[in-house]
């Protein structure tokens, strides 16, 4: 397969950056998108150019490190996958592919396609936990039965990988899906309910301070989320926030 790649190059946080065109040939449909990037980088290195920096790690769709905006969509045109699981068979010979970093004020570009997502960590540090210390004396795990439906819903919310595709896809660069996934997970479980009110207030406050936009309920985040995190979580967070506010 022969492709034309238009890739965002930016030397550092203060560089202006621009789209640069790279032709590439001999791409196999069984390659993952990142393997295609590897091929390009090896060519760049061997011709003495600076390879393209992009984030990636586990390459099996779970670490949330990879983060490319491909042809106008987070993680590319396929559904339910991260960029590392996107395969080149989804593209056709001769196609032009645009590759850009996540764009959001809260995700500043570090280099090329690499962005700084530490704002997510700061949101988590403001309340994304249950305040329980490690000890050998916590109650027996089966002492608190959790209805299966609640446990399953909490699990679904907890599968968020923190990749930031929701922010990247949202026209407002809103982090509501990410934040609501954690708020929901812990609000659904009895262990998390004790701190539920403080948690939602603090996490939303930090989210706002980090410069994410608001939710317009366009639903783009849900569509582009590689883990299919549901908008229901956002509705639940809205409820949680309301009840926390009037408390």
């Amino acid at each position: 397969m022969k492709l034309t790649l238009k890739i965002w190059r930016q030397k550092g946080p203060n560089d202006k950056g621009q789209m640069v065109t790279y032709p590439i040939d001999n791409i196999d449909g069984d390659m993952s998108f990142l393997e295609m990037m590897d091929v390009l980088n090896n060519q760049l290195i061997e011709s003495g150019d600076d390879p393209i920096a992009f984030d990636h790690d586990c390459r099996e769709g779970i670490c949330g490190m990879c983060s490319l905006y491909i042809n106008g969509e987070a993680h590319g045109p396929d559904r339910g996958v991260t960029t590392c699981q996107l395969h080149m068979r989804k593209f056709s010979d001769g196609e032009t592919i645009y590759i850009e970093p996540w764009r959001a004020k809260a995700f500043p570009v570090i280099k090329d396609l690499v962005v700084d997502r530490s704002s997510f960590d700061r949101i988590m540090a403001s309340g994304g936990f249950v305040s329980v210390n490690t000890s050998g004396n916590t109650v027996d795990a089966n002492a608190i039965p959790v209805p299966k439906a609640d446990a399953d819903n909490a699990f679904e919310a907890a599968t968020c990988i923190g990749c930031g595709a929701c922010v990247a896809s949202c026209k407002n660069a809103s982090a509501m899906l990410f934040v609501s996934a954690k708020v929901s997970q812990l609000a659904l479980l009895p262990q998390g309910q004790v701190e539920a009110a403080d948690r939602v207030l603090n996490m939303v406050k930090t989210m706002d301070e980090e410069g994410f936009g608001n939710c317009t309920n366009t639903g783009a985040c849900e569509v582009e989320c590689p883990k299919g995190i549901s908008l229901e979580n956002i509705a639940r967070m809205n409820r949680e926030y309301m009840s926390a506010m009037v408390k």
Partner: protein, 667 residues
């Protein structure tokens, strides 16, 4: 006595840990505040250790090379975590978990460590549930369990196929709480490049800020290495692209012993290699073997037809299939331990029965599971005379609920629908049982330098059972290290902050800097990946699933050659003081090129077969691994001698007081 003092406490096996904990020295809360601990790595072992130490009051400085602690590769663990809870009432107990783990490890792990692991396993589940980890539950609201390879009870707790993710996010949230409080200072996108030893004690690290490229000095009263395993020495493995041996290797070169480096786990159920472009391999959870049946065609001509695409697997009738695990190991069947399953797959493929174009794949088939579950559902729903397709549909739904995400992953990667055609799988490098030698306190041979999780060698012997890695990482981090490190730090309550301006820090920093500059200045013609791939091929072919004297000797020579060429001809682009992923890779591959040789040396030294280490010279008539307990019931701990080609071997004899060593049998 050898130089290796394992410091195993005296007393009966089941009392050792509790008695030891009662006598261990403590540090009072006020003093803990003035004690710094560095933790390198934020996976299950490092993340849990950071959180637990910070909760206790220590000032923790945590480091990870990823952009967030949540991304450590523990997140990719799928199947589950073992714990001796006996919730299913199927006869499980601490002793049985201990015994299964020792046996699964082919009698090459330390009794006392493994018993302690089994003992604290139940606490892990309680702790994780308290943190809000959403484990799978049954309709009564209680925790569900499943079974894993090498055991005959259901003791594995799970969260669909994402147990590692859920546990890691639990540890990450515990860390986040401490980061918010300022008790953990988190350094993301930092890579540890050296350990600093002052007056014989580990007192800090040199780390590179991967964003700015700055070389930084960080001091502490103790250093914990939780940097994971070194499977990426094979280039292709199920490890993350960034997983590396650097932290462990650098402390090895500073005096820590590397134990049993040749013990590598080859996981039987991975998606086969599809081409030269492949950058990594993807694991399909071992839990699939609960329901999937593994087979190859019985007749060579069918295998050939399948390989060339002239026949489909679904065309083969039952009698023309060879369910070789069920045939060879009737009592454990498809649930034999990983090493056994992997070798059996290799044996069939080597014999010419492989089922993909490269001849390196076997089938994992869910057809009969789908029909079995379908019938069960039809009964539950009181369907009378359901048609085949009704049953198939019902069964498919059950399988989807259990393994849906794994099937989806398989489909996305291979473009084959596993509900309709059997999955193709092949063994791949997955986990490394070997690692830095530690004593009972998890301290390496360097005073104050602790090693936890996959980075150490201690609990899995020569083969790890499924769902035990998560257990070990969290046991070390939550329930072992926080106690044992206090005993050591009790001496440091008056030490005060460690200066980063001492000659030792300056010297270490200069060394790191010159090593990186050396790599940048080679300016050869080949990329880092080129050398990494070559190394990987040698390792896989000659230090992989089956090893022999000749191959290992060749491997040693070839690795040396690749290493020499690397230092003459590698091209590392970019500069030192910038975000430079190529430089990171080069520095990691440089360490793999040394470690690879040590693995071959260790494999050569161990002229027996055990667990994941299969020496062709040492097998039974039936082709099973043959241990040599008389000569090799020891831990091979290698000390850096100043020359990577000539490490010094120290042996820690493995003494079994509570169980009898027998030849493993899963028949």
């Amino acid at each position: 006595m050898s130089v290796l003092d394992s410091k195993i406490p005296a007393g009966s096996l089941d009392r050792k840990w509790s008695d030891y904990k009662n006598k261990i020295r403590l540090v009072n809360p006020a003093n803990k505040r003035s004690i710094d601990v560095i933790v390198v790595g934020t996976g299950l072992a490092g993340g849990s250790a950071s959180a637990a130490l910070a909760e206790l009051g220590y000032s923790v400085k945590a480091f990870c090379f990823q952009d967030s602690p949540r991304r450590a590769h523990s997140i990719a663990a799928q199947g589950g975590i073992n714990a001796a809870k006996n919730y299913q009432g199927d006869g499980d107990s601490t002793f049985r978990l201990f015994y299964d783990t020792i046996k699964g490890g082919d009698y090459r792990s330390r009794e006392a460590n493994v018993y302690r692991l089994a003992e604290v396993s139940a606490n892990i589940i309680d702790q994780c549930v308290a943190q809000g980890v959403p484990f799978a539950r049954d309709y009564g609201g209680l925790l569900d369990n499943r079974s894993f390879g090498g055991v005959q009870v259901s003791r594995t707790f799970y969260a669909k196929g994402q147990t590692g993710q859920q546990l890691l996010l639990g540890a990450y949230s515990a860390m986040s709480r401490q980061i918010g409080k300022g008790k953990i200072k988190m350094h993301t996108r930092h890579e540890m490049l050296d350990l600093v030893i002052v007056d014989g004690k580990a007192r800090g690290i040199i780390a590179r800020n991967l964003v700015t490229g700055e070389i930084e000095r960080h001091s502490a009263h103790a250093v914990v290495i939780a940097s994971g395993g070194y499977g990426n020495v094979f280039f292709l493995s199920t490890n993350a692209m960034g997983s590396n041996v650097t932290a462990a290797w650098r402390i090895h070169k500073k005096g820590a012993h590397f134990a049993n480096p040749c013990f590598t786990q080859i996981h039987p159920t991975c998606i086969p290699v599809s081409g030269d472009h492949q950058s990594k391999l993807t694991l399909m959870s071992e839990s699939l073997r609960n329901d999937g049946r593994i087979w190859v065609p019985k007749h060579m001509e069918d295998a050939e037809k399948i390989r060339t695409g002239k026949m489909k697997p679904t065309d083969l009738t039952e009698e023309n299939r060879d369910y070789y695990l069920e045939r060879r190991y009737p009592s454990f069947g498809n649930l034999v331990p990983r090493d056994v399953a992997s070798r059996a797959a290799k044996e069939r493929c080597d014999a010419g029965f492989g089922v993909n174009a490269t001849g390196e794949a076997v089938y994992l088939d869910f057809a009969s599971a789908i029909m079995r579950y379908g019938k069960e559902q039809a009964n539950i729903q009181h369907l009378e005379n359901p048609t085949e397709s009704d049953i198939y549909k019902l069964g498919r739904d059950v399988v989807e609920a259990k393994y849906g995400n794994l099937f989806q992953m398989y489909y996305k990667i291979t473009d084959d629908n596993p509900y309709e055609t059997p999955m193709k799988i092949y063994p791949a490098v997955h986990y490394t049982m070997g690692g830095i030698w530690v004593d009972y306190n998890l301290m390496s041979a360097i005073q104050g330098c602790y090693v936890t999780g996959e980075a150490n060698f201690s609990d899995h012997g020569a083969n790890r059972l499924g769902a035990s890695a998560l257990m070990q990482g969290l046991a070390d981090g939550y329930f072992v290290l926080p106690y044992t490190i206090g005993d050591y730090l009790a001496d440091d309550i008056r030490t005060g902050t460690i200066s980063i301006d001492s000659p030792e820090f300056i010297e270490a920093e200069n060394q790191v800097r010159s090593q990186l500059e050396k790599l940048l200045n080679i300016q050869g013609t080949k990329s880092v990946d080129y050398f990494h791939k070559r190394l990987g091929k040698v390792m896989w072919d000659k230090v992989g699933m089956a090893r022999n004297t000749q191959g290992l000797n060749e491997a040693i020579a070839e690795i040396q050659e690749i290493r020499n060429e690397f230092y003459q001809n590698v091209r590392v682009t970019g500069k030192m003081n910038e975000f430079n992923p190529e430089l990171e890779k080069a520095s990691r591959v440089a360490d793999f090129l040394e470690l690879g040789e040590l693995m071959a040396i260790d494999a050569l030294n161990r002229a027996e077969s055990c667990g994941g280490h299969f020496r062709e010279e040492s097998q039974t008539e039936e082709g099973e691994a043959l241990r040599d307990d008389d000569n090799y019931a020891y831990v091979a701990a290698w000390e850096y001698s100043g020359d990577v080609t000539k490490p010094n071997l120290h042996k820690e004899d493995l003494v079994y007081e509570n169980i009898k060593l027998v030849q493993r049998s899963y028949k």
